[in-house]
C-alpha cells in the first residue's frame, strides 16, 4: 500500500511529542528514605519542602544526599529525583526549618581519608509544598 511522504515526519512528530510528554510527567523517586523514628508525636503536622540541588544527578549522589540529611534532627522523609535534580524533604517544623536543611545541604563534606573539606551539594532553588 502506497503512502504519502509526509507520513514519515508525522509519525516522527507524534512519537516524539508523546515521549516528551510522558518524560515530562513521569517522575520516579530515585531514593525514598523514611525515618520512622523521627516522628515521636503522631499528631505533629509535618511540612514538605522541595529543593533543586546542584550535583544531585545520580544514584550514588542520591545515596550520599539521603545519608547526609538523615542526620538532621526533624527530617522525616527524603525523596530524590535525579532527572530534575530535586529533593523533596518532609520535616517536623517544631524541630527544624527549610533554612536549616538548606544549610546542611550546602555544608562541605569532610573526607576522612584526605582530611579535605569538599563542597558537594548546593541548593539552587527552594519551594514549599
Amino acid at each position: 500500500m502506497k503512502l504519502k511522504w509526509w507520513v514519515v515526519p508525522m509519525m516522527v512528530a507524534v512519537v516524539l511529542l508523546a515521549s516528551y510528554g510522558l518524560a515530562k510527567t513521569v517522575r520516579f523517586a530515585t531514593q525514598t528514605l523514611r525515618l520512622e523514628t523521627a516522628v515521636v508525636d503522631p499528631d505533629t503536622e509535618l511540612e514538605t519542602v522541595e529543593f533543586r540541588v546542584h550535583m544531585l544527578k545520580c544514584w550514588t549522589m542520591s545515596n550520599l544526599f539521603t545519608e547526609t540529611l538523615s542526620q538532621v534532627d526533624g527530617v522525616v522523609e527524603i525523596q530524590t529525583f535525579v532527572r530534575t535534580n530535586t529533593a523533596r524533604i518532609t520535616f517536623d517544623p517544631a524541630k527544624t526549618s527549610p533554612e536549616r536543611i538548606a544549610d546542611r545541604i550546602n555544608r562541605p563534606v569532610h573526607n576522612p581519608e584526605t582530611g579535605e573539606r569538599l563542597s558537594v551539594f548546593s541548593v539552587k532553588k527552594t519551594e514549599m509544598r
Binding site: 500500500m1 502506497k2 503512502l3 504519502k4 511522504w5 509526509w6 507520513v7 514519515v8 515526519p9 509519525m11 516522527v12 512519537v15 516524539l16 508523546a18 515521549s19 510522558l22 518524560a23 513521569v26 517522575r27 520516579f28 530515585t30 533543586r52 546542584h54 544527578k57 545520580c58 544514584w59 550514588t60 535525579v82 532527572r83 530534575t84 535534580n85 530535586t86 539552587k124
Partner: protein
C-alpha cells in the same frame, strides 16, 4: 520533503545547543544526556534488575529510548535522519564533502564487513556500562562531547575523537552512523521489521541509479521492490532525486 527534513534537523541541532548552553551557563537540570535514548538502553539493565538508574541517566532517557524503539517499529530508523542532532551535522558535512568531491565510497565488501563493527562496539560498551555502573562511553561519545560543551567527562583527547568523527564524514558519507553508531546498532534489531519503508514500482523504475547515489547510507535500491535494509533511515532522499514520478514512494 528535503526542506521539511532540514527544518526538523536544524530544529534539533539548535534545540540541543540551547540545552547545552542552558546547562553550562545557567545550571539548568536538563542536559543533552536527558534526551539521549542511548542512555535509556544503558540504564535498562540496572533499572530492571536493581530498580535504579545508571549514573547521569533518568526515567526521561528510558522513556525516550522506548519511544524511539516504537518509532523504529513504525517507520524504520527515522530517528537517525529526522531527529539525531549528531547525524544531521554529519550529513551536512558529508554534503560539503560531496561538493568538493572528497567523498569516497569504500568497496562493497569492505563496507558490508565494517557495518558489523558497530555491534561489537555496542556489546562491549553495554557490557562495561553494566559492570562498572557508570556511562563509560561518555568520554568518547561525539554527541556528548559536542552538546555538553566539554563537561567533566570530556578530556583533551575526547576533542580529537570528535574531530576525527566530523572529519570522517567529509570523506566517507555518514561513516560514524554506518560503522560505529551504537544507538543505530541497537535500533537495527527493530529496523528490519519497520512498517513504513520506501517501495519501488519496478514498472516505472528505469534503473538509472540516482537513488542509490543519493542515499546517505549507500543502500542498494535498484532491482528491489521493498527497501527492507536495516540501515534505511527513511530520509526520503531516494524519493526526492527520482526523475520518474511515483517510481519510488513510501509504503507498507
Amino acid at each position: 520533503m528535503r526542506l521539511a527534513r532540514t527544518l526538523f534537523q536544524a530544529g534539533f541541532v539548535i534545540g540541543m545547543i540551547a540545552v547545552g548552553l542552558r546547562w553550562t551557563f545557567g545550571g539548568h537540570a536538563l542536559t543533552c544526556e536527558t534526551y539521549c535514548p542511548f542512555g535509556g538502553l544503558e540504564t535498562a539493565y540496572s533499572l530492571l534488575t536493581q530498580r535504579r538508574f545508571t549514573c547521569s541517566t533518568s526515567e526521561a532517557s528510558f522513556i525516550f529510548f522506548l519511544g524511539m524503539m516504537g518509532l523504529t517499529l513504525l517507520a524504520k530508523k527515522s530517528f537517525c535522519s529526522w531527529i539525531c542532532p549528531l547525524g544531521a551535522l554529519l550529513e551536512w558535512i558529508g554534503r560539503l564533502g560531496g561538493r568538493v568531491r572528497w567523498v569516497w565510497e569504500p568497496p562493497k565488501r569492505v563496507d558490508r564487513a565494517l557495518r558489523y563493527l558497530r555491534y561489537v562496539v555496542l556489546f562491549a560498551i553495554l557490557y562495561f556500562t553494566y559492570t562498572v555502573g557508570d556511562l563509560v562511553f561518555r568520554t568518547y561519545d561525539p554527541y556528548y562531547i559536542l552538546y555538553s560543551f566539554g563537561n567533566e567527562a570530556v578530556v583533551w583527547w575526547s576533542w580529537m575523537v570528535l574531530a576525527a568523527v566530523l572529519l570522517s564524514a567529509l570523506y566517507i558519507r555518514m561513516a560514524w552512523c554506518r560503522y560505529l553508531c551504537l544507538l543505530g546498532a541497537a535500533f537495527d534489531l527493530f529496523s528490519w521489521t519497520g512498517l513504513v519503508k520506501p517501495i519501488v514500482d519496478s514498472h516505472a523504475c528505469t534503473s538509472c541509479g540516482l537513488c542509490e547515489k543519493a542515499c546517505p547510507q549507500a543502500i542498494p535500491i535498484v532491482g528491489r521492490t521493498k527497501i527492507r535494509a536495516r540501515d534505511c533511515t527513511n530520509c526520503l532522499e531516494c524519493l526526492a532525486v527520482c526523475p520518474k514520478h511515483d517510481a519510488i514512494s513510501m509504503g507498507v
